[in-house]
Symmetry: C2
Subunit: 483 residues, 2 copies
């Protein structure tokens, strides 16, 4: 929102704001049913007093252009259009509501929105702090990347060939022996999941996953009409899967290294067991391995490394280590699967940014990447020590957690089920943004995903203090039964 009223106009601030809003509605930027931003937000964006905004809105309400809905906000009125010009306009709201893809749940939409504001302390963000990104080195490296005209044209379906060759060597260190033609470059790991949903599963297929799961917070499979079923990995896994699967298509999605959000790691035996079980039932495994390089101890081999039947689709990404803004990830799998996913990718976006691909190729093929990641692990260790110390000192009476083995997260469990949407909003009101457990497992009111990767040390300290305060209040309320 770029526009601001002018101080030395012949119109009053209120008049300018009324004209501006009216023109937004007239031009169809704000169609019928659009919720206009809250007064406080508008006031701060337009750099005027809240009362000025309020008066402007009252004026437009009187004109029939805006209407209030109790407890919900101010909307462009149903009859606004007729009031203005007697023209028809498409019913976008109905379009949106009846369309195919699921919206993000409201809490996640709020998270996406509030992550943009600088004055918010982000205690949950699954992203490296700006100071942990190799900004300067990335900028420098732009001078070394090779751009030839072939490279900046439309990409080949599988992605930049040089990058795929380099990835073969990189994956070899992880125990995965593969060929460039078995790798598809994607715009981040999330896109890999989207392509798998569209290209390998029929509607009504089952996606088995663990509970809680990152998958609950994004909707690539749900929107494609797949059924999400969470299962426990225990000695009955095989019977469980068999009885749930019946004759339906299914896949098993897992994050064996530094699970998001719990931080849990599979042992080698657990990986082998899962592989055997899925192999017996012919259930393909999607192994999401985006965090393994951030393990403080050496990682164990991925499931893909003992795959001898083309059973495992292996997903990686540089988002958690180098820069999410690059939007580069990869999928490794059997030729026919990779070709299928590539075909859909071509139909979806004609390939990933070739500039990003060149940058990643340069970093992976020099010592830049490895050096950065080992520096990064060190930084994350310091951050985790800082946060765990605060938790030890301040949270023992109200919550429990496991020591972090790496990555970004601590899966903090409050003794009482206080983490509901009201709790999330109360914290937001104090400018602290958390990722509540219920976005990873619908009925979980005990956990938050605490991230020590994003906020600064100061913010972490301050944010945790506010978290502690609000938690205490919620707990006491809970005990008094007053809410």
């Amino acid at each position: 929102m770029d526009w601001k009223p002018e101080r030395n106009s012949h119109l009053t601030l209120q008049e300018q704001i009324v004209n501006w809003m009216r023109s937004r509605i007239e031009r169809g930027d704000w169609t019928v049913g659009t919720k206009i931003p809250p007064q406080r937000k508008l006031a701060s964006q337009l750099k005027v007093n809240r009362s000025t905004v309020q008066q402007a809105i009252e004026e437009l309400k009187a004109d029939g252009l805006l209407e209030s809905k109790v407890g919900s906000g101010v909307y462009v009125a149903n009859h606004s259009w007729n009031a203005l010009l007697n023209k028809s306009q498409p019913n976008w709201k109905q379009h949106i509501e009846s369309s195919i893809h699921k919206p993000n749940i409201h809490t996640i939409q709020l998270i996406n929105e509030y992550e943009q504001y600088d004055d918010v302390i982000r205690l949950g963000t699954g992203e490296l702090s700006p100071e942990l990104l190799p900004t300067k080195e990335l900028k420098q490296s732009l001078q070394s990347i090779s751009l030839d005209a072939k490279v900046i044209g439309y990409s080949s379906p599988l992605g930049n060939e040089r990058l795929r060759k380099i990835l073969c060597e990189y994956l070899q260190k992880r125990g995965i022996y593969t060929f460039p033609e078995n790798i598809l470059i994607v715009s981040g790991a999330l896109q890999a999941l989207q392509l798998i949903a569209l290209g390998l599963l029929e509607e009504g297929s089952i996606v088995f996953h663990e509970d809680p799961s990152y998958l609950t917070s994004v909707h690539p499979f749900q929107s494609a009409g797949m059924q999400m079923i969470s299962v426990q990995r225990n000695q009955h896994l095989q019977e469980t899967l068999q009885s749930l699967k019946k004759k339906r298509q299914s896949i098993f999605y897992c994050i064996p290294s530094l699970h998001n959000p719990t931080g849990i790691n599979f042992s080698v035996e657990e990986k082998k067991q899962l592989y055997e079980v899925c192999n017996a039932l012919q259930i393909p495994i999607v192994e999401d391995d985006v965090y393994h390089e951030l393990l403080f101890d050496s990682p164990t081999p991925p499931i893909k490394s003992f795959d001898s039947s083309g059973q495992v689709l292996y997903i990686g990404s540089v988002s958690k280590t180098l820069s999410p803004g690059l939007r580069i990830g990869w999928v490794v799998g059997p030729t026919q699967v990779i070709q299928r996913l590539a075909d859909i990718k071509m139909q979806t976006d004609y390939g990933s940014s070739s500039f990003s691909q060149e940058i990643v190729a340069h970093w992976l093929s020099t010592e830049l990447y490895e050096n950065h990641v080992s520096w990064l692990r060190h930084q994350l260790k310091e951050r985790v020590a800082f946060v765990e110390k605060i938790l030890e000192e301040e949270f023992k009476d109200i919550a429990s957690w496991n020591k972090s083995a790496g990555g970004f997260y601590i899966w903090l469990r409050f003794h009482q089920p206080i983490v509901n949407k009201a709790f999330f909003l109360k914290l937001l009101n104090e400018k602290v943004l958390i990722n509540p457990g219920y976005i990873y497992a619908a009925n979980d009111l005990h956990h938050i995903r605490l991230s020590y990767a994003y906020a600064s040390f100061d913010e972490l300290a301050k944010g945790l203090e506010i978290l502690r305060k609000i938690s205490k209040v919620s707990m006491n309320r809970g005990i008094e039964g007053s809410e």
Copy 2:
């Protein structure tokens, strides 16, 4: 495919190839049903004689690992797996066949594949020739782009704010007055279509389009279960749309400037008429405007410029002017529509490459972009003059066409319906790749989309000569009724 047999190994070339293929099958890279590459292609990639490849394949057939299907090629055998290890593997083929997204039609898959080979003359490619891309300038500009740590993190849902502000100014020159919050940055225009399909239309909605159409060659709407209906823009348009639409949701997709594949341009009156008709029926318009800067004469204002009801979603991209490898485009529309599309984009790939976004911001905000585009128009004019001269001299007896008004394409119409798949394959056999009309309109056997933008002058001359030769043969056959 990186592997090659070693000349001075103790194993023969054939033995090495057998081992290599066996290991690809064992490791599940080539699963049951995978079609292995043709012998000629393998031989050239492995740098061995074709007979060596053939013998290796025979050996593996004898072992039961491969099997021939008459007239179709060599496949990994059904029982290969049992033959090897007695293990089960997932039935990927069935997964693929029953999944949601439509595959590209075979001709388009072949085009995507053969576009990668350097010795093929590309007469149909919808892409600028490497020599028309500002490779050097792009490389230089990398030094001037501002990278700060915020920018290379996960993007905000709408995309880089600076770029959106710059686009507001850029769009103003096109007669579109909009705000940063009404713009969504996407990974190319194609992704915009994909997001509209997923986010604004229910299954079974109607997508009206012209015939032929770019939309027939990609499947964002078809795969989402929409019904494609082609209509003619004539004086009965309103009744036609009304009677086809009934009570169903629908949109009208159009390319009013330099239509792909026909090159046709709407007059201002035609634009207004379409807007009025769609407005009366409340059918939203998707205006795909990726080519307008390549018009040799000044473009007329887009439909979006007289949209006063939030009826038009306007799509742009830098793929046709600056570099498709950037993968940057935009959609302009009413706030609630843009927010919805942004929400789905976040769920699909968490935003577009921030590096690409910075590069585009830099180019659009300096004189770099405009200078390049005006140079480009000049180059395209020279190319079109060259091609039209050849057509005048060599094709008048067999085909007709309109003079190009800009962009990349001439919609060449052969007097006889010779452009079928056999014709396409015959040309491919001579290493000439065309875009046959039937990928834009299923029953069209008269046209090819001739592109003067990609191949070099020499290639254009040689390719057209081969095209002429093969066309002549096909026409004579047609006349003799011998095929």
